[in-house]
């Protein structure tokens, strides 16, 4: 199957899901009005990827901003990752936030709690 690569825009995040390495990157901002349109192909890709039974996947989520309609879809992505885990794949979520962005850190903890997946919450310095 093909890697999933979607370029980022001012409204939508950059997606780089790599079949071979199992690294799933989600970066930038996610504030489109129509989240359904953007996230449906992403979720479909993950559905197909489960069949490849990768040994390990690492989701690297590094978002600057996202709206609440995107927040539902981020949870959907995490729920899909749970399916991998059930199927025997080792799953890790790396949640990145800018040092002073306490809300983004808390949101990471919220997702860790709700999804029940192993999270690493990682801060980085502002550029």
């Amino acid at each position: 199957m093909d890697n999933l690569i979607i370029e980022g825009t001012r409204q939508t995040p950059e997606i780089n899901f790599d079949v071979e390495s199992g690294i799933l990157k989600l970066e930038g901002r996610s504030i489109p009005e129509n989240t359904f349109e953007f996230f449906t192909p992403v979720l479909n890709w993950l559905d197909a990827y489960v069949n490849s039974s990768p040994d390990k996947i690492v989701a690297k989520i590094n978002l600057e901003y996202f709206n609440t309609s995107s927040s539902k879809y981020i949870l959907e992505i995490l729920k899909k990752l749970k399916v991998f885990k059930v199927e025997g794949t080792e799953v890790l979520v790396e949640w990145y936030y800018e040092e002073d962005d306490e809300e983004m850190m808390e949101t990471g903890e919220d997702y860790e709690d709700v999804s029940g997946l192993p999270f690493e919450i990682i801060s980085f310095e502002e550029e």
Partner: protein
């Protein structure tokens, strides 16, 4: 009021942006672009800038999805307003849009509930809604109010203004505290 008085009023009230009209996708993109630049130039710390930007995104999302038309059935009359201004202590994001009278009670309840919760309870409520709500075609609108209260760290001020038998005008005001210079201890 003559033009100069109008200009003075805009200046004295520290209005950073004022818009009325239909909130389209293009308008949202444009407003966010302008505000990002403006917030950069007032050199607010990243943190405050992010809070304002987050609230603004959510407010416009609400206007985009939930504004009712002023003339029933005429979608070209989904007019709304958005204003950003500040005083010594806060930034304010003010929105106004038409709402059907029969939708008022539910909205009022939702905001009152959000306003009644402590920071921790708000977080618990957020997790609960995030986990349990199915995705609607308008996205996670229920989360919007909770998110704005969390991000702003302030109570949400609202008011419904009478318009006619079927419509009211919904005013929502969200404030974000400015950075205070740290005092030496």
């Amino acid at each position: 009021m003559n033009t100069y008085e109008k200009f003075r009023k805009l200046m004295d009230n520290h209005i950073m942006l004022s818009f009325k009209g239909e909130i389209t996708s293009d308008i949202i993109t444009m407003v966010l672009q302008i505000m990002e630049t403006r917030l950069d130039s007032v050199s607010e710390k990243g943190n405050v800038k992010k809070k304002i930007f987050n609230v603004l995104v959510e407010c416009m999302q609400n206007l985009y999805h939930h504004s009712e038309a002023e003339e029933p059935g005429n979608i070209d009359t989904r007019r709304a307003m958005l204003e950003l201004f500040y005083d010594n202590d806060f930034y304010y994001i003010l929105t106004g849009n038409y709402i059907k009278n029969d939708a008022i009670a539910a909205l009022r309840d939702r905001i009152d509930r959000v306003n009644s919760l402590s920071k921790e309870d708000l977080r618990r409520y957020y997790r609960e809604i995030l986990d349990n709500n199915i995705i609607s075609d308008k996205g996670g609108a229920d989360l919007g109010m909770i998110d704005m209260a969390r991000k702003s760290g302030q109570k949400l001020f609202y008011q419904f203004h009478d318009v006619n038998d079927s419509l009211s005008f919904f005013e929502l005001r969200v404030k974000v505290a400015k950075n205070k210079p740290k005092l030496d201890k």
